[in-house]
Symmetry: C4
Subunit: 362 residues, 4 copies
Amino acid sequence: MPDPRNLVNLAEIEAAGRAALDPVYVDYIAGAARDEITARANETAFARLQLLPRMLRGGGKPQLDVTLLGSRASMPILVSPTAFHKLVDPDGELATARAVAAADTIMIVAMAATVAVEEIAAAARAATGGHASLWFQLYIQPDLELTERLVRRATAAGCEALVVTVDSPARGANERNRRNGFTDLPDGLACENLRDPRDGESGRVRQIVMSPEISWSHIEWLRGITSLPILLKGLLHPEDVRAAVRNGVDGLVLSNHGGRQLDTVPSTIELLPEVVAAVAGRVPILLDGGVRRGTDVVKALALGASAVGIGRPVLWGLACAGEAGVHHVLELLREEFEHALTLCGGTSLRDLTPDLVRGASR
Amino acid sequence: MPDPRNLVNLAEIEAAGRAALDPVYVDYIAGAARDEITARANETAFARLQLLPRMLRGGGKPQLDVTLLGSRASMPILVSPTAFHKLVDPDGELATARAVAAADTIMIVAMAATVAVEEIAAAARAATGGHASLWFQLYIQPDLELTERLVRRATAAGCEALVVTVDSPARGANERNRRNGFTDLPDGLACENLRDPRDGESGRVRQIVMSPEISWSHIEWLRGITSLPILLKGLLHPEDVRAAVRNGVDGLVLSNHGGRQLDTVPSTIELLPEVVAAVAGRVPILLDGGVRRGTDVVKALALGASAVGIGRPVLWGLACAGEAGVHHVLELLREEFEHALTLCGGTSLRDLTPDLVRGASR
Amino acid sequence: MPDPRNLVNLAEIEAAGRAALDPVYVDYIAGAARDEITARANETAFARLQLLPRMLRGGGKPQLDVTLLGSRASMPILVSPTAFHKLVDPDGELATARAVAAADTIMIVAMAATVAVEEIAAAARAATGGHASLWFQLYIQPDLELTERLVRRATAAGCEALVVTVDSPARGANERNRRNGFTDLPDGLACENLRDPRDGESGRVRQIVMSPEISWSHIEWLRGITSLPILLKGLLHPEDVRAAVRNGVDGLVLSNHGGRQLDTVPSTIELLPEVVAAVAGRVPILLDGGVRRGTDVVKALALGASAVGIGRPVLWGLACAGEAGVHHVLELLREEFEHALTLCGGTSLRDLTPDLVRGASR
Amino acid sequence: MPDPRNLVNLAEIEAAGRAALDPVYVDYIAGAARDEITARANETAFARLQLLPRMLRGGGKPQLDVTLLGSRASMPILVSPTAFHKLVDPDGELATARAVAAADTIMIVAMAATVAVEEIAAAARAATGGHASLWFQLYIQPDLELTERLVRRATAAGCEALVVTVDSPARGANERNRRNGFTDLPDGLACENLRDPRDGESGRVRQIVMSPEISWSHIEWLRGITSLPILLKGLLHPEDVRAAVRNGVDGLVLSNHGGRQLDTVPSTIELLPEVVAAVAGRVPILLDGGVRRGTDVVKALALGASAVGIGRPVLWGLACAGEAGVHHVLELLREEFEHALTLCGGTSLRDLTPDLVRGASR
């Protein structure tokens, strides 16, 4: 295993992560829906935006910390939910959680984690010796009893917000998986948050259902059973964004699911200005999809995002060097972001204003 | 022959179909006019359009069936006319007809079929055990008597509409055929619809004439000799589209003949919004050219098409696995379309509205 | 030498012509100024324009002939002036002239021909057995006496118009020639139109001077010494085009010298709509640069050109098969143009109207 | 070492320069920030601009000389500051200075030169036998005493203007250097302008500090300690450009530091029209970044720059043939610029007007 600290950027970490993995798992992680047009668009869209930095503004080391819906993070770079971390590292989400906690940012625990949320939370708190910021990602299940049980568990484990993925009325079509015959987790791995709590470790594990029946009434129902902040992840149409604000959600994650659901939807950074306009400052907007550089973070924040999330880079870091790899991913991106902010003449996130970005479709 | 069910998308079926064929026939099928700029544009134009799906709309399994000018189909995906199916499969159009009938959609029988329309219709009906939806594609011949005889035969065989190809005042120039010296059907194959009925199987087969003399007055003449719905296939100029509506045609197939006639005409999906505006809902518009993905179907319908047609994919399916190959093409595309519709938050074709598509030149 | 009739388009003739030539001469012909950006733009710009053909207009075989400033041609495709035909064929401009005359179109004889204009004219007339349409291309020389002598010779030889190249205040920089050390014509070849007539065949050959001193006053001077129609070749700036019309020139050749003079000037087809608007129908506009397909001719004429010229394709034809090669180039392009005109629903050059073309910057 | 005079353009000189150097130094020179998007954009942006030359304007050999803030140059092509010339040639900046002086243009001496400014100035004057135009590039140091000492030295050495680089609140991130482990100058080389003058040749060399503390107040301070003209190099945001003019700076160098500071900032030529509009003629604007061709110079001047600078080409020339290489770079570019100016119908820099350029975002 190479010393991840020799890897100078996220592209190199991705290359090392790919090299360390079974190609079938590489395809599962790197792959996306159908022709993967959206997945590629996420990565190329940032480079088309241009920065117009300010100069000679004086000031010193930038302040990067942020508070999002009551959860503090040392930087506006979160870990978006991704499934099945044990596919790429024996410690799975435990390693991820330790690295994220040590980097003092927010981990959005995936419902499809291969470690139960309680264990993830314990590992995160052990890493900091105290508080760790965790949110929980949820696919609302048609079985509302099961859904409520999951919400209760996540809340009890210390998760501070719910991120409800709403772009999945059906499972996405990663055709690489079909070609590879990759349909099930290998023996010994399971979605531990779906294990029936009455059965213990040998208990039945429920399948995650992605149902077209889920509707705005389910969001209302969820609002009624929890006092945690609720963010919706995956809305893309401006009408839906407006509906979310009207319906009282607490935040949005502007995400196209890494291009893994409907192919040919726009990159998220391309949609951001319009979503920001639709929200008009009433709730915070997070963005994920293609964030690989400090300048990407600068652009997203300048255009109105409160923070960004990263998905695949965390898995590549985990694949190439476990907890240390994830930590290196986060610290590299923090260093790049701080550097870019300084080169933009900024010392605070408030200095990132829309006039710094050119080429955004506003 | 590979099991076509292992092929996960139309691109893979095309690859398998090409591998199974004499390269001269591959060139005949894949080739197009001159530099093939339009043929490529058809395939790339869809990917430049972006989808903005709706979320959280509830609902269940989508309804895909459609009725077009009185002909029912289980989905808005038809089979466009293509010539010479016996070049790629010994059963030729019989195999195609059985697969299309089993998939319960409409086959537009080509005038240049290598099986007579009566036999095609019989095979289709045998496959369903009852009704099969067939339309007949027609090049109006300067010999109007011959033309009328063809119309009578198609009508008697059960064809429910006439699709008049109007973009062929001259034969297209596929330069691959010239390089290959491919000018005639091999021995034993013929355009059976052009065989003189007075002579039986050994009878003279007339050449299909593509004449610049054909004009709007011929359409008027055709209107006078048949009560079948008449669709014009190949109009591209908005003035011509308006003329068609004024002249009382029953429908349009927006098609550039797969790029096989005049090179450098636009892709059809690029023209669709303007044609829809010119037609203003008075007649249904079908579209073919480059439809390879379920999302392509979603885009065409969202922009105002009533259905789409596929051409070359049918031949690749036929080449790689005969009737089963054609069936797989249709079922793959149905599955993709249904999946894309669901991911767009739709359960009915009426849910496909123009606001779902971005990047169309309207 | 391959039978040129097996070559199906101008791209194949170019490939055959290149294969038949010394690479140094290929570089001389194919090369252009500096980075050759304009030369490539000429060839790619046509493909970006789209055609919207008309259908069902009836009619028969198109009429292609045209009369330009009193000179008749059987089609609106002329031969633009190119230098040094003996570099690629022992008969040089004699072979070209015979082929062009046989094709019944206009040859613009280059001042830098390697055969004297009198001999070229004689060969052309011999090929038709009567009249042949020839124009003469002229670089106005600071030595006005020499210039006048040339004009007299061209007129006496039967040239019917003068095409004054005005884009050459200095020689263009073909860096391929510099790398190859190609600076002079090989022994035995010379610009025969510049041979001092008082010395006979062994006489001194003057160098063609490209001088920045040439100005509008020289055009006025030329107007005073000849009654032939005067066309200016090489104006690109709309202000200059307006000045030309004001100054009473008889026609324009919209040309960027095949990209051989100033690099990064626009393709000519891209400039055509603006030049047409500036001229407002007062004089005919010819266009050369990148015409390789019948659809290119259609586009240029639809946008307002009266005819097009071809340059390099003539040399490739000459290189691969001498007179027969040039003839094949002209007949292929005629056939393609006629075919494209038919597919556009046209039977006359007047049917080529601007609405047939989309994507032109008007 | 090849005879540089055989190299016909700057691209060939770059290739020769790269071949002559240790790949680690090639990476240091050619490399830029992060993904090097801006560095590539600088080179490709010029080719997207089109020239519309004027014809028939008469006139003779163009006049190229220019006076900039009191310094005369024989052409509007300067040498931008680049560091560490001894990395590529044993004589380092001495060789460069001799070549630039012989070419009779302005060298902007880099603060990070590996030869002291006094020696550079002496070499330049020796080359001309008299006056040589030198400017001094300055990073304002938080240690103002040190900064003032540098200004005094540069002034005493004969530098006629100060070019203050303002885009470097932090060092740029050339990731190639990180991969190569290239962090320090090799033994024997040092930034001689930073050597403590009290210690002589063995004295302590200070590190150049790039500090985010530098602000407009430092520019005001500098204005108070020197009467030399002050140019700011690196402003990109139009607001900053307006602030500079308000604050009384004497000129601007529109530069993105060769893409070496913040990646994804626009190419400079793309920004020029907007910067010209913001400055409104009140101070001269120089531009560097991607100038490689005479037509690039024409475009920059036509759009409003008073002169251009070249950076990397000087180092490639120096690497491939020392002083002669630098001289060849300058003479090639002069010859190309004069040629392009002539082909544009110009004889004076005043003839380069904005209407000659198309495609600029104005």
